[in-house]
Subunit: 308 residues, 5 copies
């Protein structure tokens, strides 16, 4: 165990040893083991966006085995997916890669201003599948977010009692926000903070832009001159919003992009800003495996480089 991992665990000392053990497991797994940084493979896009749209660009991705093997071969910290994808490979790959069971999911077959999602698996499923934790998505900004927060509350209480990690995808959306506002700096910081307040151990947000959405916040950010020019500055702010860096915040890789240089620049910004890592889905599984491994290798190397 490294000093950095020890430091991270110290932020969670109110949790039971089971939670700490599972936190240790993902922090000490894969090529970033011990650095306190994480790269996680999430594959819920089949459910969230549809399978054709998600996997046609790289058809081996239709196969659940493919993603287990990709996460293992790339030396990632964990693999996160809905029930079906995990059930299909959890026995075959038992123990080889820490698993996070995404407990709620949302499809896009209704065009909804305020998406809600459904709880599609349970804490008992996470235990029988040998997962290190559960995942849950909240949509701050939507009309019915209350139902999400309350469902998350119950699952969090149950998961923690069983020693499982709680990973929260916090994605601002809905009729309460402008499209630009979904990734606004104040909103991204707000989203990270909400997840932390709801008891999340790991928080996943989108990389923030310099936009400020909520007028009352905008006024303060400008008065206090919160730095927001570079991605590193903005990431630093979001991390600060998550309990001054005492909760693990990782950033999503977003839609598939051809331009690797741009992706790697973004990773450098997250790393420089003190982000704890990335959760890279489409940019991993929507390109041929060779290319995916190459890109993930470069991303991991960035996170392994100490920040000056």
């Amino acid at each position: 165990m490294t000093e950095r991992v020890q430091e991270i665990l110290s932020w969670y000392r109110g949790e039971n040893p089971g939670v700490l053990t599972n936190l240790y497991r993902i922090l000490m797994h894969g090529r970033l083991a011990g650095t306190g940084k994480l790269v996680i493979l999430p594959v819920d896009q089949g459910f969230e966006h549809g399978p054709g749209r998600s996997f046609a660009p790289n058809p081996p991705g239709y196969d659940p085995d493919y993603h287990f093997q990709l996460a293992i071969d790339a030396g990632l910290n964990a693999y996160a997916a809905p029930l079906g994808f995990l059930e299909a490979g959890a026995a075959k790959y038992a123990g080889q890669i820490p698993l996070i069971l995404k407990l709620n999911n949302h499809d896009i077959l209704q065009d909804e201003a305020d998406p809600l999602g459904a709880q599609t698996a349970s804490v008992d499923d996470a235990l029988r599948l040998g997962c290190v934790g559960i995942g849950y998505t909240i949509y701050p900004g939507t009309a019915e977010r209350r139902l999400q927060y309350e469902q998350l509350r119950d699952l969090t209480l149950e998961a923690k009692a069983a020693g499982l990690l709680v990973v929260v995808w916090s994605y601002p959306r809905g009729s309460g926000l402008s499209k630009e506002g979904e990734t606004a700096l104040d909103v991204a910081g707000y989203a990270a903070h909400l997840a932390a307040q709801l008891g999340a151990h790991l928080i996943k947000v989108k990389p923030p832009t310099a936009h400020l959405e909520v007028p009352a916040a905008k006024k303060v950010y400008e008065a206090q001159q919160v730095p927001r020019e570079t991605l590193a500055e903005r990431v630093r702010h979001v991390v600060q919003c998550a309990f001054n860096g005492k909760r693990i915040v990782i950033f999503s890789g977003g839609a598939m992009r051809e331009d690797d240089a741009a992706i790697l620049d973004e990773i450098r910004g997250i790393h420089a800003g003190g982000g704890f890592g990335s959760i890279i889905g489409r940019n991993a599984f929507q390109r041929p495996k060779e290319a995916a491994l190459r890109l993930l290798d470069q991303i991991i190397n960035i996170y392994k480089t100490p920040v000056r």
Copy 2:
């Protein structure tokens, strides 16, 4: 046990031996035993469409015994129905045909853009009736699909613990979709994928058309040139969407049609595309028994023919 059945069981090795046993039972029953193909008789139309509309064309179908006997005489793999129909014949025909208890159903006495259905039987009913599994219908695309997914989640966890199969009817509908969109290729693939992610062992969808519904999907399908001209191509895509063919997907026979040749052509397309079989309701029980047996015999013969 044939090699093909062994291969199919290997996709489900995360499940307990009880589930594997019931999977074996339906794969090894009837005239298609051992082929890895299935033809199932579903009779829930009395509940779903009303009895007169369903059974007046062939009045013996009012009698629950009729359908048990039809499935047995035709050498099918299983018979699926709501609680009452199964209760009425399960003792008399005990053991002669694997049973699937449809746990939710929906009547049409309200004209709803977004149907929801009700859970009308329980896992305990399935056990006391000697069923191999439970059935459940989801309507992706409806406003309240969330409630269906969550009810299915609880039933799935309970059914699997008791060693029962989970069969999901995945029928896109609702205000989120155009009428044409309900059977669009992208939507059909999505529907199959959703059911698989929800933990289904067997998935029933409608044969897909070449239409593409969701704009974001359409773009990808066209860019990737996903083949969709023939039914075989479209079936192949839907099967691919269900975990690259690692979940059993069967196709519904649809409304009663006079034209047997058209029906058989469709079966040939499903078979050629790697579909795992058919679930034939109205085209079986809405014609005289003799004619039904003749048609089912022809369908079974198609599925028994190896694909070149």
Copy 3:
């Protein structure tokens, strides 16, 4: 389904269709399918007598797979064993042979006049392992039989609600009986009747001798001249004691014997007396597999031969 199986099922028409289905399954499985006769392989001797004593004579029997394969290859109706042996092979052989989970077992590491046994598995185990039924041993004649009857009562209620068969090994023993009395005709009949009264669907007893144990019974048997000279006569009486033949009674094969002719004579006696079959453990797995298959083939052939 044969007429004979239909007749047998008719005796159990108070049971739910799940129970009838599982009864059908074992009556329609293997080489005796449809005859109403059963040959079952039980392997609980490792627990009951110790593994070395049980398996050293034919060492492949140490391996749990061996017994599954033996029961399958011999075309038996079912295989019965304690939890560990079933868990070890239930996934690999899923569906290929009906399984009976023996829920209680007793080791001989205490020399007890009144053995009691322990419940070592549960109805939930039977469901998750895909069994057709549960097995339970009672020792009529022992001091604490009350505890057995009451544990069986609870398990029976639970098993039947879940559609499982209840198979009772009824072995008179204990300080209440002479050694000879354990297989006395009156006691054997009593044992079969007790099991039937406790709700058993299948009853396993030892072949009875002509001895009469209980004085009050002896008086009546002699007064009424109950025939008991031949094994067939005695078997007929035991079957009569089990609800006039309306409960399935099968007879145990007893200790390993070299003399196949004697074994086959006994089988002929059981068959002639209207016994429903045999449960052959040590005489099956304590000889080389070839010899076991040969003997089981002969036994099955006897049971297939119509009695004049």
Copy 4:
């Protein structure tokens, strides 16, 4: 993952992926990772024999931290202890060593011919402490073993559903056995078999002597000439009794001995006989740490050496 570990996991394929994951974790942890061999540190002697008697020979052992650190420093596969000892260090050492919570324990403040023990912790404790499994001791040969088997049954069902391993200490004792009989070859094999039949994943027994205890067994062992001269031969027999080697059997190190050469000879015998490893308590923690690490290093080196 090595081929050997893969082979071992294949014996447990009826279990859920959670169980397989935890089996993988202990088989892939420490210096023996991947070999299929295990060395485990158990420290329940404070409870079982009293703290002074257990720890006075090496007083640092009074401190719960000491044992966590010893297991970690020696590179063992796991550490097993009662509730209090695990609670005292599970947060501090979270994740650094797989933990097994011993759920029952027995003190010696009553001199009992037939000890029984008490359940002193629960499956829920094992989850909140982040354990890979539960431990439970049975005393075959005692008058009340029935109560132990039944308590174990409930805990096993609950533990497996939560994905936890079940480790059974099977120690024949009690008024039914002579002192010599407690480690007799037939009894040791019986003990291993009973644990396996009760559903144990890992079984711990004492190294067997050449003595034969039960007359009926003795007769068979002698007739079949079961080899029992060397420890390797006897270990091979015990492993065979545990489902022909398809359940993991490890051997206890016994009382503290000065003579390291004798200890290492015993380990060589266990290894040569196909034993899966050792569980070394008193010979590890009752000597100074340096000496303990030296001895454990030698033991591990023996297990790492391929058997010719």
Copy 5:
């Protein structure tokens, strides 16, 4: 918060913050606040010995209010009593003195060699009465101690989940021990260790004598020359037996004694040996309040004096 209290809390870091909070509360209450030492008033003698025998020597003690007020006036850390006594004053004195609800009690209206006690209140009672913890008495050495350990296990799990302290009175007794053995050094150490292994946060034992009871222990104590001449040495050993001093062990004051000097000498011995304090019942409430306050003041002063 003092450094000492911080150190003590660090030994319990596997516990949830609720437990730590209640531990903090009793360690920071009264005149010994912050010292890490505790003096607690227990009044369960009315139940355990009968009210007349307990309270006639100082009749105000019949009144439940008396004891609350005594504990408050003396500046003690906590007051422990059975349900009725706490219910009678908990509202009136709410918040003024930390309360411990004794969950089991035993009356002496049967003369039993092996007393067992009854659970006379619940964790829910402790919560509704605002207690900091529960108390429970075990009698190591009694025939049925198993039932006590198992009841304590359930209560401990429940209490800890609710953030309550678990205080265990560990009093060796019963047919397994000589009268002298009840306070023998080895037995007292064993008793403290058992309570710690059962998950107790605070342990109460009797001051040990130099006697050694269990032969196997005696041999080791003598060989290892465990010091046991002075009370301080013996207390030091008992504290060592409680996880090397990482569990709080306090010592009972025993029967009412006239000789204050002897009492204070005993306290000095406990203090010098590293004991964490005293639980003084009869020597507090069986003398006039003035005298009691004077004695308790002297005791507290001893515990406040730093040990050289």
